[in-house]
Amino acid sequence: MREEIFLGGLGGQGVLLGGQMMARAGMDAGLNVSWFPIYSPEVRGGSTTCTIVITDGRVGSPICERPETMILMDPVAANTFAPQVAEGGLLVLNSSMIEQPPGHEDCETLWVPANDIAVEIGNERTVNMVMIGAWAGRTSALSIEGIAEALQHMLPERHHKHMPANIAALERGAEIGAESRQPGG
């Protein structure tokens, strides 16, 4: 098993933490993992991306030229990075912000209204959790419980009060992901 996942979004959307959480969950599940970020040079704003590898073999290169999976949270990231997804790969797109389909066809696309769900849940900062939950629901590569536990480990104590919202977001995302596995999804 080898999952190469690329996350992209705006600064503030929780791209880096989301990726770290996924990798950490992989580690806790006994797998080999790596996570690495590319910051844009600006102190704030601009797009943020990271790449994670989760595998039961050696990680080897932590850099993925054409990731199997891309989780993209805003239109700029979608435009810039979606074309790099591997052939036959998976695009998880935030339909609350991204309007246009990515415009290439040899991959699967999973649309997730992440902002809307986050608002529903009552915590706008859970967009990343919805997206990642959707990916997990779709692929079953990691369990939602494992991801949630990883998050708990990584969040400073003072933020643990947000755990319920985050778990809710992960679960709502997972449902969408799981549904999408159905032929009609």
Partner: protein, 266 residues
């Protein structure tokens, strides 16, 4: 819509259209604007060379619509010296942060000032290393928390803040030295006046000029932009008093006006 109106505040000609990358409310932008306005008012854009240094303002060469040289960290005064010795009539200004000027570049600024090199330094003091994520600067206030003084700066651990204008004021070389703050409209107006004075000093060939601008770093101070300018006004000015330390142009003008004062001695 503006047909019968006069434009009283326009985008300065000496700034390019490039959007500045500073964080919201960061007064680096204010400082840039003031410098650009002065360049426009003096009509020197085509003979000005901007020295960008290493810090949040490293892209100054993209913002100022002049020739520009990007300098290594702290060494802009040496680079400026090199340029001015070759081209004495070119107007050169270095835009330096407090890490750049007061930490790694201390020797270069002191010596350029001591030599009285005829260029201008805009010294932006925000009491922190903005670019590199909020480390302590030589100008960080005692007690101030930064990413490398996580318990607040203490003198036994990390020494005392350095007052650059006072330090340079012990030298014979500088012709203009002033400290202003980018905190309130009156202060900003004074800041512009000082910047203009500094450039005029250079144009007149009188030697080294420097304007220290007390500035904000909302991001690494962990403040809103409004809290940050209040902090400048209320805290920073205590350690760094606002003053014109030296103004040889004024001295010269004083002499000239004294000389040309009618009726005297004749």
């Amino acid at each position: 819509m503006t047909t019968d109106m006069k434009q009283v505040y326009a985008y300065p000609d000496a700034l390019t259209e490039v959007e500045m990358r500073y964080c919201p409310g960061c007064t680096h932008g204010t400082a840039h604007r003031l410098v650009a306005e002065v360049i426009d008012e003096l009509g020197i854009k085509d003979r000005t060379v901007t020295l960008a240094t290493v810090g949040c303002s490293v892209y100054a060469y993209e913002y100022f619509d002049t020739d520009a040289v990007q300098c290594s960290h702290g060494r802009a005064p040496a680079v400026a010296t090199g340029i001015k010795r070759v081209q004495p009539d070119t107007i050169v200004f270095a835009y330096q942060g407090d890490g750049d000027l007061a930490s790694i570049g201390m020797a270069e600024i002191v010596h350029a000032a001591a030599r009285g090199e005829n260029f201008t330094v805009i010294f932006l003091n925000n009491a922190v290393y903005g670019m590199t994520q909020g480390q302590m600067a030589p100008t960080t206030l005692l007690g101030q928390k930064t990413t490398t003084s996580p318990r607040g700066r203490t003198a036994p651990e990390a020494g005392f803040p350095i007052r650059v204008c006072e330090l340079l004021d012990t030298l014979d070389g500088p012709a203009f030295l002033a400290r202003e703050a980018l905190s309130t409209p009156p202060h900003v107006r004074n800041a512009k006046r000082a910047i203009k004075r500094a450039f005029e000093t250079q144009v007149a060939g009188l030697g080294f000029s420097l304007v220290e601008l007390l500035s904000t770093c909302p991001t690494w101070w962990g403040m809103t932009p409004l809290e940050a300018i209040k902090h400048v006004d209320e805290q920073m000015t205590k350690c760094y008093p606002i003053a014109v330390f030296r103004d040889r142009l004024a001295a010269q003008e004083g002499e000239q006006s004294a000389e040309s004062a009618p009726g005297e001695g004749e």
